[in-house]
């Protein structure tokens, strides 16, 4: 009898706990993990987007990618090169420390430390002066009408906490400073706090009850799991283990539509996938051509462009869900102009002729770096590119690896250790100046330009135009500068853009959320309604 009572009580207890959890726990899975939770370690949309639920910046995007105030209540561009930000009062970090101007200045300085991948953000300012505890003055090197947009992902850390834990420098993705406190611990102002994390296994977030604003979300707890295998990830959604997965492999859309209780969510993503070639070194690091760099010859780059059968990639690998492009920006980006967006037609004969003209009639060998868990079907695209280039005699040795290894190899922190690579880019400001500055400008350690120009494409006129675009306020003139820059870049085949990939999420019925075009999951908008 006593045992019966006990069992009933136990069962009841378990049942309540389970139902309480079932209502408010949101589980989701992505193809990879956040490498470091240090917000200044890796300038990558997934990492920054996920950390955006824990950390916050001065400004933010709403569900439709409109710019909204966040840790700054308002801002004004008082002089061409001077901005005033009025910081929000009464905001506290997860450890209870108040948020002040000192934290902003500290975080800005931290983005400029050696290991930081966010130098391009930090260098948008030459100085930040504290006017009072909740007002700062930002001096920009050139007039910059879109500074608040540029800084959407520049997250603010607590100065006191960072200094106490000896993490005033950003974690380097190249490796070597994994002991950095902020690479494993967080202390932000966001709606969720990280309470537990097993790298590569799961991350547990809990609602920050002291969050400074009301948000639509009714989620109390979030469990994030990386699931690398595509089929496993989709199976986890269908079996009800998780509420949201992305990306869903495009070939599984039909399956999600057919399955009960789940549905695919699709749309064009603001991300462009492209190929890049090392045009900077006089000899490629990974090639059988010694003493010369074939990619410095524009004809070779053009031959590559003509050898790519983008239609086959669209139809077979992307199942018609991609949007082939000749530009590094898509229609979702401010500054896109369909008139200059043209592709090099597939023309293997011409490609072969160009290779012969350049002196590489027999082709050459080159190693290609490719992530295998970052973009939609990334490895399959690289394999297809390798097969297409084989037709013009180029032997591609494919090095496809997980994104942490891949980024740790190709990025600036590892001295751009690549000859030929596939990369995807979403301009975080959603403006054409972002790729002009980060991908197409000559690399410069002083200004931070070209930090993601992994191939070292360089044209002085493009640099000049990028600077003009940054400060031009007349829309028509600005568009003319943008068009000219993209045209030069296209003529010289600085990169070979492939396509805009589709947003491809799978979600359980009863979950309401906003699918942002930058592929960021903002938990502020996630509601469990059933």
């Amino acid at each position: 009898m006593r045992f019966g009572h006990f069992a009933a009580a136990l069962a009841l207890g378990v049942a309540t706990a389970a139902s309480a959890q079932a209502d408010t726990t949101f589980r989701w899975a992505f193809q990879g993990d956040v490498q470091y939770v240090d917000p200044h370690s890796l300038n990558e949309t997934f990492t920054l987007g996920t950390l955006g639920n824990i950390y916050e910046a001065l400004s933010w995007y709403d569900r439709d990618l409109n710019l909204i105030p966040s840790l700054a209540e308002s801002w004004e561009n008082v002089e061409p090169t001077k901005w005033i930000f009025h910081l929000r009062q009464g905001v506290t970090f997860h450890n209870g420390n108040p948020f002040t101007a000192d934290d902003v200045i500290f975080s800005w300085q931290r983005t400029l430390t050696e290991g930081s991948d966010m130098k391009g953000y930090g260098r948008k300012a030459t100085a930040i002066n504290k006017i009072d505890d909740h007002t700062i003055e930002v001096i920009t090197p050139t007039p910059n009408p879109i500074l608040p947009r540029d800084w959407v992902f520049m997250y603010i850390m607590d100065k006191e906490w960072s200094e106490a834990n000896n993490t005033a420098e950003a974690t380097n993705v190249k490796g070597g400073n994994e002991g950095n406190y902020a690479s494993l611990h967080t202390n932000g102002t966001g709606p969720f706090k990280m309470v537990d994390r097993q790298i590569g296994v799961r991350m547990l977030l809990e609602r920050n009850q002291d969050y400074w604003q009301d948000i639509p979300s009714n989620v109390d707890q979030v469990i994030f799991t990386p699931i690398a295998q595509d089929a496993t990830r989709v199976a986890a959604l269908i079996s009800g283990d998780v509420d949201l997965v992305y990306p869903v492999p495009v070939q599984d859309w039909g399956r999600l539509e057919a399955a009960a209780g789940v549905k695919p969510l699709a749309g064009p993503e603001a991300r462009t996938i492209f190929l890049g070639m090392d045009q900077d070194r006089d000899e490629l690091l990974y090639s059988d051509i010694k003493g010369a760099n074939p990619f410095q010859d524009q004809r070779v780059r053009l031959a590559f462009a003509h050898a790519i059968d983008i239609e086959a990639i669209r139809r077979k690998i992307m199942r018609t869900a991609s949007y082939p492009t000749g530009l590094l920006i898509g229609p979702a980006i401010n500054g896109y102009n369909a008139e200059v967006d043209s592709r090099w037609p597939l023309d293997v004969d011409r490609a072969q002729a160009l290779m012969a003209e350049a002196g590489y009639a027999d082709g050459f060998e080159v190693t290609m770096d490719c992530p295998n868990d970052r973009y939609v079907n990334d490895e399959a695209i690289c394999q297809a590119v390798a097969a297409m280039l084989a037709r013009i005699g180029v032997t591609v040795n494919l090095l496809a690896q997980t994104k942490s290894k891949y980024f740790g190899k190709v990025l600036a922190q590892a001295d751009f250790d690549t000859s030929f690579y596939l990369l995807g880019w979403t301009p975080s400001s959603l403006d054409a100046h972002n790729p002009l500055y980060n991908l197409m400008s000559c690399r410069s350690d002083d200004t931070g330009a070209g930090l993601f120009n992994l191939g070292g494409y360089c044209n002085a006129r493009v640099d000049e135009l990028a600077a003009l675009v940054e400060k031009e306020t007349d829309p028509a003139q600005r568009q003319a500068y943008i068009d000219e820059a993209f045209q030069i870049h296209w003529d010289e085949v600085g990169h070979i853009p492939l396509h805009q990939q589709p947003l491809s999420w799978g979600v359980r019925d009863g979950i309401e959320l906003a699918q942002r075009a930058d592929n960021v999951l903002d938990l502020r908008n996630v509601m469990i309604v059933e």
Binding site: A231, A312, A380, A387, N397, A400
Partner: protein, 320 residues
Amino acid sequence: MHSPAAPPPSASRLNHVAAAVRRARDSDLMYAFLRSPITVAAFLATVTFVLAAAFAPWVTPHNPFDLASLNLLDAFLPPVWEPYGDPRFLLGTDDQGRDILSTIIYGARISLFVGFASVLFAMVVGVTLGLISGYVGGWIDAVIMRIADVQLSFPAILIALLIDGVARGVLPRDVHDDLALYVLVFAIGVSGWVQYARTVRGSTMVERNKEYVQAARIIGIPPMLIMLRHVLPNVTGPVLVIATIHLAIAIITEATLSFLGVGVPPTQPSLGTLIRIGNDFLFSGEWWITVFPGIALATLVLAVNLLGDWLRDALNPKLR
């Protein structure tokens, strides 16, 4: 080849060959073999696989490793009997437009190579250590057998994974890709030597006290020669049986490692790699990419296993 000066094969030599064939035909082993239809089928299946793999460039309709011959537009074609099947691709194509049938044959080539090579490696290591252990005895025996005991307590796949992982860490990436096959052979071989060593040690300990070995010792033949000439021939029977069964295990281990993505490089897909690639498309309707390599692997392993089982029974006088 005979040199022109050499005499043509004499009639007596031909008679010798004929006699050998006759002996084989009339032997107990052949009798037992022909009486078991399952064994004959398994034998035929194994031979078909081995021949197809050995002559892959001539028997396959396409060369899946020649990237220039691939056309992405041929990707995901179903087998020829399904709607939209293409007669050029009997069993359909994979995600890159490679012919599944050709890929299976080339894949079986790698699987069989790794299987045979690692069995050979394990056999040489195991038999040598077993002979020494059993013949010399003493502390050498104790050391070898304790190592064997420790290794037996771990699953073979774990040891293979460990060796492969260490090799990956130590060797630079581009070197590793070139050596991947040999690393795999080494890993699987090392994980399987214990069985040979134990069996050979047991048999050797029995043989070494027999009169013929003692006689050899008395007339002063060095221990090395005794082991090779006198003991080894008398312990080969069990070794052959173990080797046949081990071949099946080695093929499965290789497939497992490749399925986990730590085996052969993706540019040289073995059967395990093919199954892994196809796994991503299994649920979206393109079942043939994973099912046919799966059937091929299962058939191959089953056939080799059946042969091994039969051999074990046939060589065991107690079961006649």
